[in-house]
């Protein structure tokens, strides 16, 4: 299953994901709360959940799912999130920093579950 073309396509999808994130985050100007980053991480999590759900009911081919996962992995990001939060914590805004990271992770998990349940129910038999 792991052949060269499949790997190359997944890596390429990750590169495109990074460019898409750059686009979204350049358009959505950061305020106190980085809404661009919220949108990116939320959308990426919803999409991987939906792809995995479609895969479990055999509505989507594994190669397509792999490309979606590759794109979303490059699209979403963790390091920007933790460093933004860490800067708040270093300014003694411990609550803000903790809330930023936790909300992204909790929203991401919830949206992945919503995506997974939606497609596996809607597309399943």
């Amino acid at each position: 299953m792991i052949d060269g073309w499949w790997l190359a396509a997944q890596i390429l999808a990750g590169g495109l994901g990074a460019v898409a994130r750059f686009g979204v985050m350049s358009i959505v100007r950061p305020g106190v709360w980085s809404w661009g980053l919220v949108a990116v991480n939320a959308a990426g999590s919803l999409v991987v959940g939906a792809a995995a759900g479609a895969f479990t009911v055999q509505a989507l081919d594994w190669t397509i799912v792999a490309l979606v996962l590759g794109f979303a992995a490059g699209f979403t990001t963790f390091s920007t999130l933790t460093v933004t939060a860490a800067q708040h914590i270093e300014r003694r805004e411990i609550r803000t920093g903790t809330i930023i990271v936790t909300s992204h992770v909790v929203v991401g998990i919830a949206l992945a579950a919503v995506g997974y349940i939606s497609t596996s129910m809607l597309l399943g038999a």
């Binding site: 999409v47 920007t80 933790t82 270093e90 998990i109």
Partner: protein, 153 residues
């Protein structure tokens, strides 16, 4: 800042041209950085091999912790001496593409939906671990980076 050029695209003055060049350089750098970051992430997960479905996916954890530390270090140290496109290629491109949130979301959500509370608790501890250790890594990176700051304190 970079995208403001769309409004003045028809002006045809040289500053717009410079903006277009700067934008295309940045996009290319982010793309190449994202490719390398994705390749590194996928490479690490392949080398690590198969992970138990209901336990912490430590390759992704390692990737996210290393990425958080590295970005913290670079932000703390400052990258003013590097051209803007290279800064973007390294941070937004490489480290942004290397680290991931969607993998955490999926690895926690799917076992919970399929198998209920037990896997949710195990994978929930992985999510909490990622948050706490990710913050610690980023803070360590920021502090170590500012100690080696290119700007004199």
């Amino acid at each position: 800042m970079l995208l403001s050029l769309t409004a003045e695209f028809s002006d045809g003055d040289t500053s717009t041209l410079t903006d277009v060049t700067a934008l295309s350089k940045s996009v290319l750098a982010v793309f190449l950085g994202g490719l390398l970051g994705s390749a590194a992430r996928i490479g690490i997960t392949l080398v690590a091999g198969r992970i138990d479905e209901y336990w912490w996916p430590y390759p992704i954890l390692f990737i996210n912790l290393f990425g958080s530390f590295a970005l913290g270090f670079l932000v703390g140290r400052g990258m003013g001496k590097l051209p803007a496109w290279l800064q973007l290629g390294i941070t937004t491109g490489f480290l942004g593409g290397f680290t991931t949130l969607s993998a955490i979301s999926l690895d926690v959500a799917v076992p919970a939906v399929r198998h209920g509370i037990g896997p949710l608790l195990v994978m929930g501890s992985y999510a909490v671990g990622s948050i706490v250790l990710g913050l610690v890594s980023a803070i360590l990176g920021l502090r170590l980076g500012s100690r080696h700051s290119e700007v004199a304190p």
